[in-house]
Each structure stands twice: as structure tokens, then as C-alpha cells.
Symmetry: C2
């Protein structure tokens, strides 16, 4: 690549979140950066898209870096669609999403706006990576992530990714010197055991807050949860072909057409 | 099974949509039905969950059938979580979602609230099916679907489904006598080419409507798109382990730890 790569940056915590500001500053050292990110937090939005209402987008100036930035009223997936079809002059060479405030490992990938943005770029044939730090607080320390985020992004730019594959990168919330390295992993089998906090409104109406405990059901030592517990950065190659190919043969024995 | 199965019914078009009313009436012939469905349309919500606001749910009475019904202010995935953790006395024997007004074949599975509800049940270890009719209109004719929806549901109750696998069933919008049967398929490679309709608000602010054309990029004769075009009902076994297992070996050659 003789000219600098065009890098699309997005996230789900909103355009002013420290995580995306860190990601933008790292990407400015690699290529030409265009940011299209939600104007408000969109955590837990999954792969939602805006079908029944309108989208706003405007040029914004948040710091004095060289990047071009747009905020968007839509979901993370909307941001990527709008960037590719409307705001960018050409297809970006890579899309990076994050750095998310909080884990998107194991089953969290399903609920993640950060990963849905990366997956949306992947659907469009753009190499894409979602980055997440295991600290959901606004004041999370992203500094230990920086060299790893840069290295993984450069490797994807150099090696490319096969069509239909996106990287899901999670970073443990520990000091940089404690990070043991990077592990390629599979998504752990895990789930959330929800506990609904039932309350009564001042008007006497019942309502709920969704809370829950994360439960890792997977004892494997090749999973993202295992790697993160062992102080590694986890990288899971992730796909949007959801077909359970291995079960097609079995289903054909059901004789659904009898 | 000596006693009648407990069937959880949900959807993404909202509890009063004709599609879910049809599904409820079919399920009433099979088991004891509890409905927990959104109080308003949630199409395109993907696997969104409600993290930053409250959830309301209330018992509702929409027709004189034997089912028990709750509406919920949340997303389809929220409805399933609330049903399992809070509203049902025991784990349901099956969860059926739909019948969706419109296709959830190929890449649409990613954006689908209907399928995210079924997948959420699958994550909880409940056999689950998402049903969709290829007609997005409110007045869609669900009558041709009925015997097929019943048969597939009964087969899942009889055979069970392996942990981690959900069925994505799509039904062509044709007369019942024109339906050739049921095909087990893989998810076609397809995408949406968006066209943003840019307009100006009365206040002079630019805004967009998301519109687009569906493009099937897959010439295979084993895909859901192919089956539907050939007047078959498509059944895709769908999973929420998004790991691209086949790419792990290749990624390990990248030497990310050098």
C-alpha cells in the first residue's frame, strides 16, 4: 500500500467516549481516519438498525487531531452503513470499532453494538476488528491496550482477512507489564443469569431493571474467557454465517416432508 | 411427554400483529401457551437488550383464547429474558417467535428481532424456532403457513434440538397448494445495498431514511434464498457460536506475539 490506508472508526459508547478517543489517536498514527460514531451511548444495541425513524448525522470537531468526524443519531450498524454509502468518498481499507468500555467476549458478542458495527463492515467486505477493554467505567485506563491495538490493526492491514471473518479482540483490565501476550481463541460457552430488579414507580406501576450475573459454562483452555483470566488478550475470529452446518445432515433425517 | 408442553410465544412486530395472533392460535392446539411480546413494533432490533432504561410488563387480554399474555416495553430479547426469569413458573419446553411479517432469510437473520428472541431462548437451553413469512404487510395471509408451522413445532418437541441450535424457518408468500415442501438449507451469502434517502427537515436540518436493495450473492442450490425462490419453505439450523473455527489455525501463523 503506497498511500496511507483509509480507516473507518466507530463504536457503541458514543463519539465522546474515552475508548474511541484512544482508538482515534492510535489510528491517526497508521492512516487517514474518518470517524462515524453514535451521538449517544448504544451499549447492548446488538445488530439493531433504524428502520422506522430518521437518521441525523453531522460533522463534529471534538479534538484537534487530523481525523474527520461525524456523529450520527443511529445505532452502531447504522453508522457503518451511513459511512460507507453516504459519507466516505471510497470504501475504507479497514474498520475498527471500540475501544469498548467493557467485555465483548464469549456470548457478549451477540449483544454488542461494538461488534455489530465491525460485523456490518465485514458484511460489506471490509476487514474489520472490534476492540474491547474489560473495564466498563468511563475512566477506564486504555493506555496498556495501545501497542496491542496498533499491532493487531497493522497485521490485519498487511494480511487482510477472508471474506466473512471479523476479529473480536478483548483486552484484560490489568497493567501493561502484566499482559502475557495475545491468544487466538474460540468463543466460550457462557451466558447471563438475569436477575430482574422489580420496583414500583411513584405512580404505583411495576417496572424492572435488567441485571444479571455472567456465568462461564466452558472449561476449555482454548476459549476467550480462559485467555482473559490468564492475563492474555483474546482474539476470536468471528463470522456472520450463522448456519450450524454440522446439523444439516441430522435435520434431513427428520422427514419434514412426510 | 404426558402433560401438555409449555410453549413461550414471542415476536418482534408487537403483540397485536396478525403474525403472532396466528402463531398463538396454532400453538393453542399443541400445548399451554404463554405469550410475552413487545408492546410495539421492534423490527430490525437485532439482539438489542435494554440496559440503560426500565422495562414495563403487564398482563393483557387480546382475544378469548386460552393463552396467558403479557406485553413488554422492551426488545424481543428482553421479552424472552423476562419470561424465563420472572413471568413463567417453569422453563418452557419450546419457544416460538413470529410469525414475522417479512423475510428473515440469509443475512436478515443478523438484523432480525424475531430470530434474536429465538436465539435468546436457545442461549437459555430452550429449543426454539423463528418463523417468518415473506410478506411484510400487516394484512399478510398466514393461512398457508399454518400446517407447516404446526408440523415443524411438533417435530422439534418430539426430536429436541442440540444445545446451541435454533431453527430459522422462512415461508414463501404463495398459495398453500403452490408450496412444494420443506428444504433444510444453509444461510445464503447476501447483503443489502443501502440507499440513503437524504431530505431536509422543516427546520432546515439534513436527515436520512435508510432504504436499500437486497442482493443475493450466492449461486448455491443449498441456500435458503434458493429454496424460497423455488417455492419451498426454508429451514436453516442457526447457531450463536460465532467463532470462525476454520480460521483459527491461519490466525496462529500471524505471530502476533513477535
Amino acid at each position: 500500500m503506497t498511500e496511507k490506508p483509509l480507516i473507518l472508526v466507530t463504536n457503541d459508547d458514543g463519539i465522546s467516549a474515552p475508548g474511541i478517543r484512544t482508538l482515534i489517536s492510535i489510528m491517526n498514527t497508521i492512516g487517514n481516519v474518518v470517524v462515524v460514531a453514535p451521538d449517544s451511548p448504544q451499549s447492548g444495541m446488538g445488530h439493531a438498525i433504524t428502520l422506522d425513524s430518521t437518521l441525523y448525522s453531522e460533522r463534529v470537531y471534538i479534538d484537534d487531531g487530523p481525523q474527520i468526524e461525524y456523529s450520527c443519531s443511529g445505532t452502531p450498524a447504522d453508522c457503518v452503513k451511513l459511512a460507507i454509502r453516504e459519507l466516505l468518498d471510497r470504501k475504507p481499507d479497514i474498520c475498527v470499532s471500540g475501544i469498548n468500555h467493557g467485555s465483548n467476549s464469549s456470548i457478549n458478542v451477540i449483544y454488542s453494538g461494538t461488534m455489530s458495527a465491525a460485523i456490518e463492515a465485514g458484511i460489506e467486505g471490509i476487514p474489520a476488528i472490534g476492540f474491547s477493554l474489560l473495564d466498563y467505567t468511563w475512566n477506564a485506563n486504555f493506555e496498556p491496550s495501545e501497542t496491542y491495538v496498533k499491532k493487531i490493526t497493522e497485521q490485519v492491514l498487511n494480511n487482510g482477512l477472508p471474506n466473512g471473518i471479523i476479529l473480536n479482540v478483548n483486552i484484560p483490565n490489568i497493567l501493561k507489564k502484566a499482559i502475557k501476550g495475545i491468544k487466538i481463541c474460540r468463543q466460550a460457552k457462557a451466558n447471563w443469569v438475569e436477575e430482574f430488579d422489580k420496583r414500583k414507580s411513584p405512580q404505583g406501576k411495576d417496572y424492572y431493571w435488567l441485571t444479571g450475573k455472567f456465568v462461564n459454562l466452558d472449561g476449555g483452555e482454548d476459549t476467550d474467557e480462559w485467555a482473559l483470566e490468564q492475563d492474555y488478550i483474546s482474539v476470536v475470529p468471528t463470522q456472520f454465517d450463522l448456519t450450524a452446518h454440522q446439523f444439516i445432515k441430522n435435520l434431513n433425517t427428520w422427514n419434514l416432508n412426510d
